[in-house]
Symmetry: C4
Subunit: 264 residues, 4 copies
Amino acid sequence: MEDVVIRAIDPLPALRNPILVEGLPGVGNVGKLAADYLKDQLGAKPLATIYSRFFPPQVYVSEEGIIRMVSNDLHFYQPTGAKARDVLILGGDYQGISPEGQYEITHRVLEFCQSLGVREIVTLAGFAQGHVVEEPRVLGAATSQDRVESMKKFGVVFSRNDPGGGLIGASGLFLGIGRLFGMEGVCLMGETSGYFVDPRSAQAVLKVLVQVLNVKVDFTDLESKAQEIDRIAQRIHDVEQHAAGEPAGAGGSGRARDDLGYIG
Amino acid sequence: MEDVVIRAIDPLPALRNPILVEGLPGVGNVGKLAADYLKDQLGAKPLATIYSRFFPPQVYVSEEGIIRMVSNDLHFYQPTGAKARDVLILGGDYQGISPEGQYEITHRVLEFCQSLGVREIVTLAGFAQGHVVEEPRVLGAATSQDRVESMKKFGVVFSRNDPGGGLIGASGLFLGIGRLFGMEGVCLMGETSGYFVDPRSAQAVLKVLVQVLNVKVDFTDLESKAQEIDRIAQRIHDVEQHAAGEPAGAGGSGRARDDLGYIG
Amino acid sequence: MEDVVIRAIDPLPALRNPILVEGLPGVGNVGKLAADYLKDQLGAKPLATIYSRFFPPQVYVSEEGIIRMVSNDLHFYQPTGAKARDVLILGGDYQGISPEGQYEITHRVLEFCQSLGVREIVTLAGFAQGHVVEEPRVLGAATSQDRVESMKKFGVVFSRNDPGGGLIGASGLFLGIGRLFGMEGVCLMGETSGYFVDPRSAQAVLKVLVQVLNVKVDFTDLESKAQEIDRIAQRIHDVEQHAAGEPAGAGGSGRARDDLGYIG
Amino acid sequence: MEDVVIRAIDPLPALRNPILVEGLPGVGNVGKLAADYLKDQLGAKPLATIYSRFFPPQVYVSEEGIIRMVSNDLHFYQPTGAKARDVLILGGDYQGISPEGQYEITHRVLEFCQSLGVREIVTLAGFAQGHVVEEPRVLGAATSQDRVESMKKFGVVFSRNDPGGGLIGASGLFLGIGRLFGMEGVCLMGETSGYFVDPRSAQAVLKVLVQVLNVKVDFTDLESKAQEIDRIAQRIHDVEQHAAGEPAGAGGSGRARDDLGYIG
């Protein structure tokens, strides 16, 4: 078996200066939430499915009883307009489960994307702050000073100290290996506690991304998800406060949500 | 050394529209028990032995002192009758011991089976319920809606929620990778506690399988094994009840067997 | 880098019906002790050095400060006499440190040995009994009934139950993969506690092996080593007895040595 | 993706009898500190960047927000003078993170270095003594007796017992695999506690190395770093003594620094 198997639609579409958006599972699932939401909102169409022996040996079963093997997937969106550029969106169930797997899958997907004309990448990720973040900023990293400057215009924060230890996993590797393919790109990292799935952070990331891509997205559903998570978090907090002998919510909403950092 | 080494009989038999039955060690050893029993009952003949560096580096020693290396094995059965189809049965000592190994072995075995004309697969497995199951149902998953419907006719249950997390290991992967080879198939999962080897669950699975394959099997020996396990389980239960200061069996047979869920 | 690198003397010697003796580190170091002792006693000459990325990334430094990389090594012995057969001895620092590594190294070494004309293998190992064994028996396993019978003549014990779980590691794998090369062979396992290095068990194995090979070996040095280990074991035992408030040696020599089973 | 990807400047420089100096992260970071300092002091120029799937799947982000992928790097220095020989310096972020990775990266880098004309290697490392070493000696290991003797002239200590267990990792492997390429070399090991980064040990190693290479280096900055580490260590020690109810520094400077061995 090849390390990475790519099954694409035939014939492949002719893409106009396509930009690759990567959003795989990771911290707070921020990247995956954002990429999946974008895909759904744009009505992006399936382009390729990616299987690998570096994924877990697992199949999923749908409610109807139909199996599908663990995969990553590429969808594509072709906006109208003479000057518009096409968008490729990479999502999926897992990142590669070993360091070698991470490198192999990233390299093979980029090789395929290069054959489709991709020269630019935006990777999406969460950045774990270890405490609840009321209004998540979007931190950035990029392959060149040019990209840094252009992202600053969209409100992306380039911090001298964050991320101090660098980026681990697909969001960093797509940019790093992308450079070996002569591609340029940026990583958009939504601040998040790191303790739970975070649609609010995904929303912050996506609000930058739509500007980069020059596309329109309705954020209503994502906002609903964010409020749902807020409610769950508040409920857990109330229960914990109650258990600790304090009247529920007594600490005030602000403090209460800070304490959410303790949720496992 | 090749990742997977297949040593087949020479010449290979000409098979009539063969269907592959997979039953390797796993939860409750349900799949392996069912496949091995089917092989013995049908008097299936050896077709190929499969070695791999993804198996443990181990040999077994027979009572006579003869060694054989850890392997998987294919047997074949050719029923009489103009319209009958042949059956291939895959069993063995181990599944691949790493994720990569699982993918490689499955892929290589399917490649070989494809060369034998296989286009359809039935995989056998146990489904761990975490408690003793008096009358195990057979749950299903399939590669297509057609297969789902045809299995329902044999009493297979397609549950909206089970298996929630998908299938991990060979039984899922043979279907998943099988699709890459254009094969269709189903997975039959016998409910089991997950705490001990379960011939009763294997029997439930096999009773569906003989209908799918349109073959006849005498279940006497498998029923004996199931009753033996029942007796062992009852004895353990009695000892535990006794140790806990209750009269043995006082809880009634039904409750007693439920408690078996605690047996390691 | 190739998985396994073999550096042999040039030109290779022409060997007469050579038999391969394998003795790598393992339980009680019995196999390695026996193979190394045989090599030294026969004055076997270096034939090849085997390096592999499946060994630890390590070099040893001699007392003079000279490094050498972790390896396995083949030596050869050519007895005089018209009917004599040559002996190849495989020893070394490590077995492969992963299952794949075990398979790859064994396969590659056997491939090389086949090119030298090897068709027969004797592997040497320890068999852990979990308690001190005063007079270690030599247990056997073989590739054919013929070999079983011929080994019985040398006093090798073929037990219905031992080794119940099979053989794990090089001693089993050389026979198992050897069969894929059409080679036949036996494994000689010296009983040992499994708790310490055991020259006495190595001696028992070697006393069978010299009959198989029809060579002569002076056992004086190996017996000295065995007595040294006996003395160390006795001393540890005395200290422990003393610490436990019993007069040293009070339990009698027999019981005292039985307790050695507890030495880590 | 290739196991190891080397991106070199084009065209490659013509090197005069180049000697390779290896200093990757390891015990006390001694080797890396020494190699990096040498590179900076000599003003060595970039020659190649080495990426590998055996490194962690990680990118670093600079203070300006620019990413770069984890790598090793070769720099070269060409001294003036008719008889001078050129120097290649290998440094980097990580050693390979698996045994196979260690072998593959070392092999591939040496293959590349051979193509540049390298026939001699000096590897730099720390040697953990488990206690603070006031005046670190430089221990040696070499590929030949000739090298041992020539290093003794520079004050390198070849100890009968150290390093007893051999060398694990790149510093040993570059010499071991180097021999397979017909290269000769030495390993210089600075004594260090093993508990913290040790510029003083790096300085000791470098003072030998500059003699081997016949280059000049200003040690002022490295001495500053060493004194800074001394101050930090002293401060930690004082705090600990104080916490233990003793007057700070009462134990005297010598004893105080010995206790530093406990710093994690």
